[in-house]
Symmetry: C2
Subunit: 279 residues, 2 copies
């Protein structure tokens, strides 16, 4: 089996490392619009050689799309036009718009939409690590729209990646990720902007930054190239959760403003219920 | 040297473990208003025996106050009334109100105000761990108001804890902690409340929760007993940073609402500058 990784960054590179270790494929082909990234991915041994996307599609059995979601949206129709029996795996973080666009494509069955709930705040081929996916959740989206053999191929790969699996439709997926992934990023961006603003007037502010601060702002290191298209495609859901989040913050602020510490205590206590979710 | 730990929880217990390992004291005395906590602390070997706070003050050379900041505010004047040559270390997370209250006390010199920038989201004696303080920052606050020998005693202990040190006045300290610690907690509380609210209508939401989500909400596990008094005492500074944070979130929301993705991209890029702060 030949495997193509379109976008040799954190996700694509980590897939390649892990599948190489498991000897899942005979050849790994890298595709990247950045020649520097591609060169680095070959140097790092993530992929064996570089190709254009057309060459890769023609010569490989499985094609992973691990590029920003706007690029997936643009690229996918022409890839499906060219596909015969290969399997294309869309690994983007948003699904509704991408899948709507190819819903009626005659080759829709060759596409498997999956979202690995794994990542770090880093990007690029150097950020690729083995075991990134181990014990993480792979979300299959609208799996019924994929051909059975295409889905089975991806299922076997997901197993090699050591992942757990779940199934959702595209709308559910985009709503859920807005709540448990996209909003966390917006919060971190806003928090970083808040303290960076303050630092201008109070230079020493970060001297005291501890692990709590680090944990809440680390996502603010995330790549704008990857995240702007995600927010664009999941705009409506993100706006809804963002509005609710601002409402909760404003409520905490009002309670503090009114020195209503009993209510403040109860709100913290209520938020503690998150313990049942987190390990 | 006999050391008293008033409040045998995460911080107090971790100090005891670390100093025991270094054989800094001959005896560790525990004081806690919860008999259960005290019993557990003795069982866990964090302290050798339990006492009332008056007994502990009379029989120990160094007294750590590792209790919620409202309890420190209430307790401190009477402790200073009783003190002779012992050293009292206030380890609270807020300083301005506590230190203002004892500013004119004739025994003010026996008090050293210090804030270890270390912790986890857990509490109680079971949460105590060795090396919690290793390479973390100890902030000495208004150190000039402490007697020289008292300060030197604390400095020697801080060194045994393996900490780095810095100096600030009480006002600076409270402003800075509002920005790099207290706001992170409010953000996490609000985020937890937001998603817990949504879960009621969309049961499966947490199935997709990954490490990014976990990292931004983990502080929402924090104890309301510890944190409500912190927000009470640092209310003005926290309100200021909270207002700025809501403004930043609202700005991101407006930009997304207007589909101004160029500006959205630039804001993420700007927030990326946090990289220079975090490792």
């Amino acid at each position: 089996m030949n495997v193509a990784i379109v976008g040799v960054g954190l996700i694509g590179g980590s897939i390649a490392i892990t599948l190489k270790e498991k000897k899942v494929a005979t050849k790994f082909v890298g595709v990247d619009k950045s020649e520097g990234n591609l060169k680095k991915a070959i140097q790092l041994g993530l992929v064996d050689e570089g190709m254009t996307i057309e060459e890769a599609l023609d010569q490989c059995d499985v094609i992973f799309l691990t590029i920003p979601v706007d690029a997936i949206l643009t690229l996918l129709p022409s890839l499906l036009d060219r596909v015969t029996n290969q399997v294309i795996i869309d690994m983007g973080s948003t699904k509704e718009r991408i899948l709507a666009q190819v819903a009626d494509h005659p080759k829709r069955g060759r596409l498997v939409a999956a979202h690995p709930m794994a990542g770090t705040e880093y990007s690029g081929p150097e950020a690729a690590v083995p075991n990134l996916f181990n014990d993480k959740m792979m979300v299959y989206v609208d799996a019924m729209d994929s051909d059975e053999d295409a889905f089975e191929t991806v299922e076997a790969i997901t197993e090699q990646l050591g992942m757990r699996t779940t199934f959702m439709n595209a709308h559910e997926h985009d709503v859920h990720t807005a709540y448990v992934s996209h909003i966390s990023h917006i919060t971190s961006f806003a928090l970083a902007l808040t303290v960076l603003e303050k630092e201008k007037s109070q230079g020493r502010i970060f001297e005291l930054a501890g692990s709590g601060f680090e944990s809440t702002v680390r996502l603010a290191k995330s790549s704008p190239d990857m995240w702007t298209p995600i927010f664009r495609q999941n705009r409506d859901n993100v706006l809804e959760v963002l509005q609710e989040h601002i409402k909760q913050l404003q409520h905490l602020k009002d309670v503090l403003d009114n020195e209503d510490y009993d209510t403040f205590y109860k709100l913290i206590k209520k938020s503690n219920k998150i313990r049942k979710i987190l390990k």
